[in-house]
Symmetry: C2
Subunit: 139 residues, 2 copies
């Protein structure tokens, strides 16, 4: 079991295949979606009994707020984006996860939403390694 991982929790295979691990936080695993068009992070609470944010215990909700704040600040500072989009849309992948996306006036979907905007553009191995290193340093 990895640090921060809770017994019995398994990451949804669709989230796993679309993203790579960044760091373990207190409640969530932080992951990077492999799409270089807009830096896109996932916060995945390590809980098996919460389908909605409001299903989390008050303590877990406070933890999520704290982690979301930290991640959003780091992402904005690192990317110098215009704004951070946050989305919880567990319609298809039912496992609770929070999308945190750096949006910029220069990105190809601005100012529209980026959900369901295909095809993705993977980072490439070296560019992804560099971004992950900078992101971890910014946290």
């Amino acid at each position: 079991m990895l640090p921060g991982e809770k017994s019995g929790f398994e990451l949804d295979p669709r989230l796993e295949s679309a993203s790579v691990p960044v760091i373990w936080l207190g409640l969530c695993e932080l992951r990077l979606v492999d799409d270089s068009r807009w830096p896109w992070l996932l916060l995945v609470p390590q809980r098996t009994d919460a389908d909605e944010m409001h299903d989390l215990t008050p303590l877990d909700q406070a933890m999520l707020t704290f982690e979301l704040n930290m991640v959003s600040k780091a992402l904005k500072s690192l990317t110098e984006c215009d704004t951070v989009n946050i989305g919880v849309t567990c319609n298809t992948v039912r496992q609770l996860h929070v999308n945190v996306v750096a949006r910029s006036r220069h990105d190809p979907a601005w100012p529209g939403p980026i959900w369901d905007n295909e095809p993705r553009q993977p980072y490439g191995r070296e560019a992804r390694r560099v971004f992950l290193e900078k992101l971890r340093a910014a946290m």
Copy 2:
């Protein structure tokens, strides 16, 4: 000045024209978007100095978490929806606001996102009055 309204705060005219007031909470005004396809609420923090959720003070972030939890639970219970979508996408309307949307397998955009899904279908005066009354009771 209405109860809960902060001196100097003015609601963005685009949010105002797209929605109607529901109730004042401690930090936010709660509003209903006038689109009957999916019950859609807005939480608008009464703050002039926060463009992003992470710009809010720690106390305001805790308040927002509390209010979002209350609103999300009430909306799910009232509508018996399948899931609650939450979105913060202040790309065009820069005033910080949180979208809270009841989504159901039977709604016309399921399972896709509903942002930018036009044209809207207004409730009609009586249907909106009834929904607002039930929502206030559920809170």
